[in-house]
């Protein structure tokens, strides 16, 4: 903590405190909030309105185009259908090239083009009735857009690519490997999804550490981590509820879940501070431990339910306390 309190960062909480003890008049407070950027200036407002109109306008036009196709679909010849979509891809890709991929407009255009590739493949499958499985559509889509994703330097594009790979894997498993089985109960599938998304997260973490500019936002890493944890928690909870510790893979998943959770608690506490992901880890632990307790204790006894309530509250208390201590320590370390 700085020795001179005036060298503290100008946070709103200090300004509000000063105003509350009448050191700042309301107009001085507003001006101070304006200076620290809490209240946006005219430029920020113009940019906000500009982005809002751009996003909304583009979305409405694209949706309108899709509806137009849907209306005329039955009457259109094959050539027209393919021609229109390919023309759309060409025009929007040219638009992206014209405006450049370093601008949001160009990046959104490239994203739209990537979506249209999927539309094209769907139409191909519909017209020619190739009998191809759904996973082939998603996999082909992913492969075709990969070059654009690599040059795009746009995080949502990477998320689209990863989503397509995930869908390919799920459909492949459901339609080819474990045909007829409801994939929700398939532990090997969850492990494969863990490997796929875990690899993606590792790459993101590395790129984030290397200060790759377009990957500095935390949202992508948070989504990936939540997906990874889900792929481990679901089979773990299923194993606890069904009390099936065999086959071997399910046991491996549980051990993996424990290792990943412990590692994540260390990593997001000491290596790359992220309080939200620590909270996600702790929520997972709460769900798992509570489910385990509920399975081990005799539910027909009344006291069991009181114990369960106390366990939930106890875990939440410990989690909250720990998170607040971590946040305070992180704030001290950042000075």
């Amino acid at each position: 903590m700085p020795t001179d309190p005036l060298d503290r960062p100008a946070l709103p909480i200090y300004l509000y405190r000063l105003a509350r003890v009448k050191h700042l008049t309301p107009s001085a407070l507003d001006q101070a909030l304006y200076l620290i950027g809490l209240i946006p200036n005219q430029t920020a407002w113009r940019r906000f309105i500009d982005s809002l109109l751009l996003l909304l306008g583009t979305t409405l036009i694209l949706s309108g185009i899709i509806f137009f196709f849907a209306y005329n679909w039955a009457e259109m010849s094959r050539l027209t259908k393919f021609g229109l979509i390919q023309l759309g891809i060409l025009i929007i890709a040219a638009f992206a090239s014209r405006y450049g991929l370093e601008r949001l407009v160009g990046q959104l255009a490239l994203f739209t083009t990537a979506i249209l590739v999927g539309v094209l493949l769907a139409v191909l499958g519909q017209i020619y009735q190739t009998g191809a499985d759904a996973f082939e559509l998603f996999l082909t889509w992913a492969i075709l857009i990969t070059p654009w994703v690599l040059i795009g330097q746009f995080a949502p594009l990477w998320l689209l690519l990863l989503s397509l790979f995930n869908l390919s894997l799920i459909f492949y498993w459901n339609q080819v490997i474990d045909y007829g089985e409801y994939f929700f109960y398939s532990t090997p599938l969850y492990l494969l999804l863990f490997v796929l998304n875990g690899t993606a997260l590792s790459i993101w973490e590395y790129a984030h550490q290397q200060s790759v500019v377009w990957l500095q936002g935390d949202w992508l890493g948070r989504i990936l981590f939540t997906i990874i944890l889900t792929t481990l928690i679901v089979p773990t909870l299923y194993a606890i509820v069904e009390q099936e510790w065999e086959p071997l893979l399910r046991s491996v998943t549980i051990i993996l879940y424990v290792i990943v959770t412990l590692f994540s608690l260390w990593y997001y506490r000491h290596q790359r501070h992220d309080l939200l992901l620590l909270a996600v880890c702790l929520l997972g632990i709460l769900m798992t431990v509570t489910t385990l307790m509920g399975r081990l204790l005799p539910l027909e006894m009344e006291i069991t339910w009181l114990i369960l309530a106390a366990v939930i509250i106890g875990q939440a208390t410990l989690a909250t306390k720990w998170l607040i201590i971590v946040a305070k320590n992180a704030q001290k370390e950042s000075k």
């Binding site: 960062p9 050191h23 200076l35 200036n41 005219q42 509806f67 137009f68 702790l282 208390t317």
Partner: protein, 356 residues
């Protein structure tokens, strides 16, 4: 968003602008010396606490049911009142509470509310239960010192009002609640600076603000499709009209602060855009509500408000066009025209020099 700078820089700038006397610096330093550095609890920690408390309610209820403490409506009401009153007193008088006791009190209070309202509903009727719930939530909002309880109190209070209107067959009354909730949200967030100056309101405005915004979005979800709530004919365009008025009012309040003069090209374009949006989405008040919250969120650099607004904006927009009872061709023309109109507005705005 908030930029990184020190208090010294800000204070010096305020002195330079004659908003502070030069001798204020010394007094400010003394005040800050006795005011420790503080961090506010992030929203997701409060969310974790809230989710855990609600989860703990389920086994508590099962326990009470198994020991036959709440096997009748009257006993449920009695136990509920004991829990509620007991926890209110606990929070009020036991200042040195530990986290564990605070969490336990939270779970007990929520359990008590469920038992009280449920028991009353079984014992009497829906109207009585809704009235009692409304009074209970007002009481808890004022006297239970917990942001989570205050937040849920707002939601439950508004829900009880909706139930009352439904039972009284005054279906269009929902518009009054929607508009009042929107007005409350605007007051809460626009006047956030003023709320910070008041020792009482500073504790209340955050759960109130978030509660009102959440309630507003949830109330407008049924506008997605008329058949969601059967036998409740509501003319949603009434709410749209009211919300457009609120949005225009909000813009009138914000514009002069940023040198957008009332009679200027920028302003005319902005207000035209607002009216255009209102016209396009006259059957979708949810979209207008999300725009209001987005503006409030941006004005206060509040990412939670902005994130919530963007999420619900997407939901309302997709649902609106999906359920439009028009042919696909007309939908297509409507969408493309709307999109072009908005992009046209954007282009006009870009042509105008800044500061006009």
């Amino acid at each position: 968003m908030v930029q990184s700078t020190t208090l010294r820089t800000i204070i010096n700038e305020l002195v330079r602008q004659n908003l502070l006397p030069p001798e204020a610096t010394e007094q400010i330093t003394k005040t800050l010396m006795i005011f420790p550095e503080k961090i506010s609890t992030p929203w997701f920690i409060n969310t974790l606490i809230g989710i855990s408390a609600w989860l703990a309610v389920i086994p508590l209820l099962v326990f009470l049911f198994l020991i036959q403490l709440i096997n009748t409506a009257v006993s449920a009401i009695g136990v509920g009142i004991i829990f509620i009153v007991g926890t209110v007193f606990f929070k009020h008088f036991y200042k040195e509470d530990t986290f564990f006791l605070a969490q336990f009190a939270l779970a007990l209070n929520l359990t008590g509310q469920l038992l009280f309202v449920g028991g009353l509903w079984v014992q009497t009727d829906t109207i009585m239960a809704a009235l009692a719930t409304a009074v209970l939530e007002l009481f808890l909002f004022n006297f239970y010192q917990s942001s989570i309880i205050r937040f849920t109190s707002i939601l439950i209070f508004i829900a009880s009002l909706i139930v009352l209107f439904y039972e009284w067959h005054f279906y269009q009354g929902v518009h009054l609640v929607i508009l009042a909730t929107a007005a409350g949200s605007i007051w809460c967030w626009l006047k956030e600076s003023q709320h910070q100056l008041n020792e009482i309101i500073v504790e209340l405005y955050l759960p109130l603000g978030y509660g009102l915004v959440t309630a507003l979005f949830l109330m407008l979800l049924p506008s997605i499709q008329a058949e969601i709530i059967p036998k409740m004919p509501i003319t949603w365009s009434f709410s749209t009209l009211g919300l457009i008025m609120w949005l225009l009012g909000l813009e009138f309040m914000l514009l002069p602060n940023h040198n957008f003069f009332l009679i200027s090209a920028n302003n005319i374009i902005l207000l035209s855009g607002t009216l255009l949006i209102g016209l396009l989405f006259y059957q979708a008040p949810g979209i207008i509500a999300t725009v209001i919250v987005m503006v409030l969120g941006f004005q206060r650099s509040n990412r939670v408000l902005m994130g919530g607004a963007i999420f619900f904006f997407t939901v309302f927009l997709v649902a609106y066009y999906y359920h439009l009872e028009l042919t696909l061709l007309i939908k297509s023309i409507t969408l493309v025209s709307s999109g072009l109109a908005l992009l046209g507005l954007r282009w006009i705005l870009k042509q105008l020099p800044q500061g006009e």
